[in-house]
Symmetry: C2
Subunit: 699 residues, 2 copies
């Protein structure tokens, strides 16, 4: 995004290219919505002198004063021309409402590319095409054709679905949820989600960034940018198209290829983005993040006038990473002084059904003084003696007094409406369901952890990049893009331990190689045409020096019997790796269309194939991320001494993950790679086998 | 519950024991709420001639007409006496509001036991004590001290938290959710959740039974009853105290010991009860179950005027066991005739943002005709051309015309309020969030599956019960309640295959035993005082006939070195079980305080210890339930030929689970049992080791 992008949301003068009074026309809806704009609106319409009583111009050139932002609603071909004219005349901010671009086949795609090129040429901040527009409440600007305005607030919201914005606004207005900026991203020919999170990060009026996303164009860029942004400004996202069926629907809707859900899950987590499951959760999180401080610790106190709802809140605390605070003895003593004998003085604190607001007041005040309490949930069922509005005021002033985050659950219907407003003024969310109150606290906790995380750069290991490139180039002379054991040296070049080994082309060389290796050897046929070597008898284990020559001949004849035309690169003679001396792991990578290289880690064999116990991360991974990959698999105790095993040298595993991550980052030509197994033992790791695919065009 | 329990909810004459006009008294609140009662209210108050202008009586005996139901609000001791007088005078239905019983220490517990005894003596249907009361909208009866009445409806609701009822009512009234009966269960001295599901099953005015439960008193009885009830009447339950923290809070709140969450999860599932996670879900499920038919199949069509929300609905369908319907060619052709070119004619069907209600009408009508479509979700974002109220009427009439279940998502704020009412009249739920609409459809699917399930009785195998009892009685002579390999015969008595084996007490006998067994043998020290035999070298594997005598001596000396005072029962000489010939499984049982015997199944070793991949069910289990236990573990592919293994004889595993289930059902004295490993191979199963604990008092 260009530096003067604030002009998108805070322009003095907006041109509407295609302004009209014609009934049902989008150009009319835009003009109507802009009637409330605090600046000047300049209609452009070659056939009219004025639109809605405002002087109209035939074209951009004829406008005497500088234009900060233009909204374009003319048909696709003309919209492209308009973008150029706007650029030529120094207009930097353009919102293209017009549809019929990338979402409508090849011709539209070509037009959309042209739009992008023009933007590039003239440094345009271009939103859309196929956008319903943008809004800014601070500028009283509704430059969209949506049917309603937004209320003012500190949330900025972007959406890849325009219709969804109208739905959210209708609903949010009803709930008094306000916004700062709203953007309908449309086809994202130029500006995308990454640009806006960057922009809103710098924007003082935005407290929380919200997104409805079906896809992320450049995953890695988004991750890197979001990491910086989330240090100051929380980002909460609903990512749609999570399931296979949903992703199919999203693709047919937007015409883009969806990245895998696993990639999104990993990428958003690495980016420090909070993920909401649905719209309610999106705004639950948004409101509490905008209104409450983050808690210093995870210890929650529950104060309630009814046991059951106290249990419900406690359950949800048990579901999250929050804990039930253990109250200090002093707190319990103080509670005993002010509460009736039948009350519960421990957490959850039950002030009983006959509690007045005063009793609530005393109990909350005492509990919030407790050093062990870092946040609180106040719950009230409707009773004859508690007035929700009074209680709301009490909760607000006690939150203000103590400063710790507080959320509420005033469990009623209409009677909770006004108190809800009162609490909102103090930034305190309230929900009928105690579970939702706790979940909103949990989002504060998650965000605190995000801000406390210091993102480290991936380690740069000293590697032999030239040698690696040479090995990868060896596919150029071959029919297949696949490499097998012949590429073990690739790992060696990047410092991942491999067994002693040589690839030989005659029995004598095989014996020489075996002599150089201590003990018996493993011999494998090396051929890009034979993928499942063991299945056809192409692997011989425990071959003694004496048998090496004979085995060589045997392997060649096995390979020949299997496929007479197979390209035989030779026979690998390899040091025996004692599989029982360690635990088989797998480290791999494949490329996601959006996020690029995704590292995978898991335990080998049944753990990956049957239990699918693996984890992925966007590469390059830092040391901590590599460590986390081990933590994230369920079978990790098997690496850590479970059931009397010797713990493996975890640091070697972590280093291998990072080194492989560096390899795939250095060489985009590696489209897929699997080191399987990477044998992990107390003494370190050894890569026992490898398989990779090379994209020759990217070499 | 006694046969005349309808008198609880449809009495002609209600006595209020403790009626008063005193401000703030519960007896006053009850009288006020009963003012709207359609029948006659009779106050009982020894000090007053009348209460609220109604003639009062000093005691039950003096009331001339028969009383159908009595509400008791007098202090605990007097409440107990009143219950007796009520019984003596033929009053069968009693609601005890009074608190201060089981929840308040030993004295209260004694009084509560007395209440139960009196109920037993006089066949009373007694609700409470410590209940806020009961309600029946069909009788205009609010016999509670809650602050509001319920709206009429077909949901009957029971709750173990009284305050929660007041919260739910306040909220439900605001949302126009109506009830038939409502019961605050209180301490459940007599009537409990099982009684009420049975009662409401017979009740024509109840379409759906709802419960807020923190515990279930007699789990097995609840499971058996609920199974019958759910065939006709859906039961939806929020079970609170799910997590450890929540269960602790529930215990301190109700004073009862909580069963484990795993037991509840298994029990409720076996009972055919739908479990809601929170209040919103409880009523989401309730409304759709009360309003819509169950779908014949799982194929859902989505009709939307916006792509994004269509993706959201599709995502949720992907999350559930529902599928996106594949529309017939004919349907697609018909849609092409009525929808614009840019529309999506496949599922999700996108009628586009400019769709009028007429276009919606045509599209929904065409889609619901499709034989592949068994239910539909209609989604609309707010636009200038669609009127939600018209759309609601269209959806209602089309649901009525086609008969398939339909749910809606009218995505707006206030504008959706009246249309929501319109849809509700046709029993169609609508939600802002498309995900919730889909989830409500999913609950219909789940309920359909429950009704289609034929519950089978557990198989009764021909077993040697006397022999088993004899083996169990052998603990009577011992210090310890634990049995080990010496109890292998227990399995034999119940038809679970065990290796050939003998327990011997001298080296010669050991050799004799080994001679009778084919091949080498395993020898184990047998002692209740040595639990981890292998750890101390108390197990010798692959002992040849020649070494048997020497090994015998060696084992005895190892045991003696370990613990000179250990009670040595002998040495077991056992046929070698080749562990590599099959897959280790574990079949076990422990007893839950509420649900009794819980069967456990999983794969042995790391699968149970590291991955905790096990499943539990309430015993006795039927054949299908035993089969399901295998399906439910994630590692089951390892029993079914994954990674080139030979599939094991699953039927033998299933039979062993059932036989062990029969054993633990026959002998409540077995408090815990583990058959670990039960080696499963293609040829059948063999129990290689056993450990159990016997409760001598229950022998």
């Amino acid at each position: 995004m260009q530096s003067d992008a604030r002009g998108l949301f805070d322009p003095e003068r907006i041109a509407v290219v295609g302004a009209t009074e014609r009934d049902g026309a989008i150009g009319r809806a835009i003009m109507e919505n802009l009637e409330r704009f605090s600046g000047e609106v300049v209609p452009i319409n070659p056939k009219r002198d004025e639109v809605f009583g405002i002087q109209a111009y035939t074209d951009i050139e004829s406008i005497p004063d500088p234009i900060d932002m233009a909204v374009v609603v003319v048909p696709p071909q003309i919209a492209v021309e308009s973008a150029r004219t706007l650029g030529e005349n120094g207009v930097k901010n353009v919102v293209v409402i017009t549809a019929g671009f990338g979402e409508m086949g090849e011709k539209g795609e070509a037009l959309e590319r042209e739009l992008a090129e023009i933007s590039d040429e003239y440094d345009l901040n271009l939103v859309g095409p196929n956008s319903i527009g943008i809004m800014s409440t601070s500028a009283d600007m509704n430059a969209s054709f949506g049917p309603m305005d937004a209320l003012p607030g500190s949330l900025s919201f972007m959406s890849q679905s325009g219709a969804f914005i109208t739905a959210v606004l209708d609903w949010a207005n009803d709930k008094d949820i306000g916004f700062n900026d709203i953007v309908s991203l449309g086809n994202e020919a130029v500006l995308d989600e990454t640009d806006f999170i960057e922009f809103w990060d710098e924007d003082e009026d935005t407290d929380v960034i919200l997104g409805y996303l079906e896809g992320i164009d450049n995953g890695r860029e988004f991750v890197d940018t979001a990491r910086e942004v989330t240090e100051e400004t929380p980002i909460v996202v609903v990512k749609s198209g999570r399931t296979e069926a949903g992703a199919d629907a999203a693709s047919s809707h937007t015409g883009t290829i969806a990245g895998s859900e696993r990639a999104y899950e990993a990428g958003l987590e690495q980016a420090g983005v909070l993920r909401a499951e649905n719209v309610e959760e999106l705004f639950d999180f948004a409101r509490v993040l905008a209104g409450q401080p983050t808690p210093e610790d995870d210890e929650v106190a529950v104060i309630t006038n009814a046991g059951g709802p106290g249990v419900m809140a406690t359950d949800t605390i048990g579901d999250t990473d929050l804990n039930m605070a253990e109250l200090e003895d002093e707190t319990v003593e103080e509670l005993k002084e002010v509460l009736p004998e039948a009350a519960n003085f421990y957490n959850p604190v039950d002030v009983l059904g006959d509690a007045s607001v005063d009793r609530f007041d005393e109990a909350i005040d005492i509990v919030l003084q407790d050093e062990n309490v870092s946040s609180a949930v106040v719950i009230s069922c409707p009773t004859a003696v508690v007035d929700f509005e009074d209680l709301a005021e009490t909760i607000s002033s006690l939150q203000d007094k103590h400063g710790e985050p507080v959320v509420a659950s005033l469990m009623g219907g209409e009677r909770a409406d006004v108190p809800e407003q009162t609490l909102r003024e103090q930034g305190i969310p309230t929900y009928f369901d105690p579970a939702r109150a706790v979940e909103s606290l949990e989002s504060l906790r998650t965000y605190r952890d995000i801000t406390e995380l210091e993102y480290e750069s991936p380690t740069e290991f000293d590697v032999d990049r030239e040698r690696a490139e040479e090995i990868l180039r060896s596919v150029e002379d071959r029919d297949s893009d696949s490499l097998g054991v012949e590429a073990m040296d690739l790992l060696d070049a990047y410092g991942i331990p491999t067994p002693d080994s040589a690839i030989v082309n005659d029995p004598g060389a095989a014996r020489d190689a075996a002599e150089d290796i201590e003990g018996d050897v493993v011999m494998k046929i090396v051929s890009p045409d034979i993928l499942h070597k063991s299945d056809i008898g192409g692997v011989k284990v425990g071959v003694s020096e004496a048998d090496v020559e004979e085995t060589y001949e045997e392997l060649l004849s096995v390979a020949h019997d299997h496929d007479a035309n197979a390209d035989i690169l030779g026979v690998q003679v390899q040091e025996m790796v004692d599989m029982d001396s360690g635990t088989e792991t797998i480290v791999g990578m494949n490329r996601d269309p959006q996020f690029g290289p995704m590292m995978l880690f898991g335990l080998g064999g049944i753990f990956v194939e049957v239990l699918e116990d693996t984890t992925v991360k966007v590469a390059p991974v830092s040391e901590r991320e590599a460590e986390n990959m081990i933590d994230e698999i369920e079978s990790s105790p098997l690496l850590r001494g479970a059931r009397g095993r010797d713990p493996v040298d975890e640091s070697s595993v972590v280093e291998s993950i990072q080194r492989l991550s560096q390899l795939v980052t250095d060489f985009p030509a590696i489209s897929e790679i699997d080191v399987n197994p990477l044998l992990a033992s107390p003494d370190g790791v050894t890569a026992a086998d490898i398989r990779l695919t090379v994209d020759q065009d990217r070499l």
